[in-house]
């Protein structure tokens, strides 16, 4: 079964959907191949919140589908749906800087106009710290005025665009799992509807397995993909397809893009890998917790307030990533003992620790986004067939002692 399009975009996430919207508006026949579901957010949908709960189902299905049907030992954690990771993030958008482009073949200055255009498309701006909540101000103080720099993808004012209504931000703090009011910048409800508005097609549940080249191995002619016709069932419900196009855009994210290049090619040579740099130099999500004792009056954050950290990720305020400690003393101390540097704990154990715990009502854990270029990100890379490694290690008592955090 073969098909044809002007442009095939592999991955309908932040990169693919943004480009697809522009190309479709320019008149191209665009087809998205998306591994996850299409949430189909349009005007009249109950809300984006409901769509996001479907997204959770997507994650659940996606966890097992790849291994079952491809035989490849890899799993996805987040972002496998039309809209990709933009569906489930906390609205925190870091400013890029010239240094981010040092390893890229173009400069920050060359890229800047496109950054500005994308920000305009997604209605992204920086929310002034002065307009954040009272508790965000406290955290900012605790962090030494070091919140950010970040931008916010939350609407100050409602707008209607390409058949989708976007409400203003109501500060419900559920953005990490989708915005209840559709007030968050994301590809699901902004650029994908735009692409569809101009005639683009989103093929959901389609997992690309290979890029096919011509005999020279330099031009991609078609891609093979598996289409899942039913979720959570046997391989009888998977169809093999091939699609031809004049142009292909590989936008599968930092993991799937290099893996797909690894899997494609001829004569044992992976595609686009003459440099040996495919899938390398991955950088982690910068996240640094600051444990502080406030000088001002007790905050007693464990009793609940406007920006507390609950079970999930409600730890932000208009694009600023925040975190409050929200645990009783026993849990807090156990956590402190485990996260504290060994040398620090050696110094603290005994009377200093007791004195520290006497200041418990003033404790605050803030997590401003911090930049660090000291991390050895050149050591991080994607393997063609990665193994499951990022598991949460648990102590004998069953408590997670080192949980790898997903990006916000």
């Amino acid at each position: 079964m073969s098909e044809h399009a002007d442009v095939v975009i592999i991955g309908a996430g932040a990169g693919g959907a943004t480009l697809g919207g522009e190309l479709a508006e320019a008149g191209a026949k665009v087809v998205f191949l998306e591994a996850g579901k299409d949430l189909n957010v349009t005007y009249g949908s109950p809300n984006h919140f409901a769509a996001s709960q479907r997204f959770i189902d997507t994650i659940n299905d996606g966890l097992f589908w790849h291994e079952e049907y491809t035989g490849r030992n890899w799993r996805t954690d987040m972002g496998e749906c039309a809209g990709g990771g933009t569906t489930c993030y906390a609205g925190v958008l870091e400013e890029s800087t010239p240094r981010d482009y040092e390893l890229w073949p173009f400069s920050y200055e060359q890229f800047l106009p496109y950054i500005e255009l994308t920000k305009k498309r997604y209605h992204v701006y920086r929310w002034p710290i002065e307009e954040l909540s009272h508790y965000a101000q406290i955290i900012n103080e605790a962090a030494g005025g070091n919140l950010g720099p970040t931008q916010s993808g939350f609407n100050r004012e409602p707008y209607f665009e390409y058949g989708v209504y976007h409400d203003r931000c109501r500060k419900c703090r559920c953005c990490i799992l989708g915005c209840k009011f559709n007030a968050k910048a994301n590809a699901t409800t902004i650029t994908l509807p735009k692409a569809k508005w101009f005639g683009a097609e989103v093929k959901e549940n389609c997992w690309v397995t290979r890029l096919n080249t011509d005999s020279s191995g330099t031009k991609i002619l078609s891609v093979d993909y598996l289409k899942r016709t039913k979720t959570g069932v046997t391989s009888e419900h998977v169809e093999q397809h091939r699609i031809y196009a004049d142009s292909f855009v590989l936008a599968g994210g930092s993991m799937m893009t290099p893996m797909l290049l690894h899997w494609s090619g001829q004569n044992g040579q992976a595609l686009a890998n003459s440099s040996g740099q495919v899938g390398r130099n991955l950088r982690g999500h910068f996240f640094r917790a600051t444990y502080s004792v406030l000088k001002r009056d007790d905050v007693r954050s464990y009793q609940g307030n406007l920006v507390e950290l609950n079970d999930l990720y409600q730890n932000f305020d208009k694009g600023y990533l925040l975190e409050f400690n929200m645990v009783a003393p026993p849990t807090y101390m156990g956590g402190m003992v485990e996260v504290m540097e060994t040398d620090d704990l050696v110094d603290m154990i005994g009377l200093p620790f007791k004195r520290l715990m006497r200041q418990y009502p003033k404790f605050i854990i803030s997590a401003p986004l911090c930049r660090s270029y000291d991390e050895g990100f050149t050591e991080n890379y994607v393997l063609p067939h990665a193994t499951k490694t990022n598991k949460i290690r648990r102590s004998a008592s069953g408590r997670a002692i080192r949980a790898e955090r997903a990006g916000a």
Binding site: N310, Q314, A396
Partner: protein, 206 residues
């Protein structure tokens, strides 16, 4: 690692597995598992703390000389909390390691050491915590964190209040707030209503 260390570590690992209930030997766990939690003590049925555990708790939570009549760990039963959390065999493992590190830093048993040597033995255990087996490290974590506050659940209300006031944890405007579950009673806060499927729970180990 020599043979003696290997045997000792293996034994401690086994004990800790029992504590965690992974060996299925619930007979060694605190008597009534229903409602049991770390730090919850039922004096009379739970194991009594061994002298080494009491001594360790008292150096981990010493009286503050700057506060008149300040309490030490065992005053509010922190040693009972540690003992209840670890169980009989867990205590044996803790005592074994306390003595091992006491001999390492002072060449005598833990009880023979003075307070300074005792805290130094515990510090030595902490220094080596990144090299030892995770389960043994958990014994250390349990000892150091439970010792401080473990007894709050079983103290008389008046004693509990005294302890909380001493530690500045008592809020006269919200006396029950210290151990409130997240967001309880706050209408603008809620926990996101997402349930994970069975397979995902297994995957995440929940």
């Amino acid at each position: 690692m020599d043979r003696r260390q290997f045997i000792a570590n293996s034994m401690a690992t086994f004990f800790t597995m029992i504590i965690a209930g992974r060996a299925g030997a619930s007979v060694f766990l605190p008597k009534d598992l229903e409602g049991w939690s770390m730090g919850k003590v039922a004096k009379g049925t739970d194991p009594a703390p061994k002298p080494e555990v009491t001594a360790a708790v008292d150096v981990i939570v010493p009286p503050d000389p700057e506060i008149p009549n300040d309490f030490k760990g065992s005053d509010y039963g922190g040693d009972w909390a540690v003992a209840a959390s670890l169980g009989d065999l867990g205590q044996i493992a803790v005592v074994f390691y306390l003595n091992q590190y006491a001999r390492k830093v002072a060449s005598k048993s833990f009880l023979q050491c003075d307070e300074q040597e005792r805290i130094e033995a515990i510090r030595q255990w902490i220094r080596e915590r990144d090299e030892i087996q995770p389960l043994i490290k958990d014994l250390l974590t349990g000892l150091t964190s439970i010792a401080m506050i473990g007894t709050f659940e079983e103290n008389e209300p008046a004693a509990e209040k005294r302890l909380f006031e001493s530690m500045n944890w008592y809020d006269p405007n919200d006396p029950t707030g210290t151990f409130r579950i997240p967001c309880e009673g706050y209408p603008d806060s809620f926990i996101f209503p997402v349930t994970l499927k069975k397979g995902v729970k297994e995957e995440l180990g929940k």
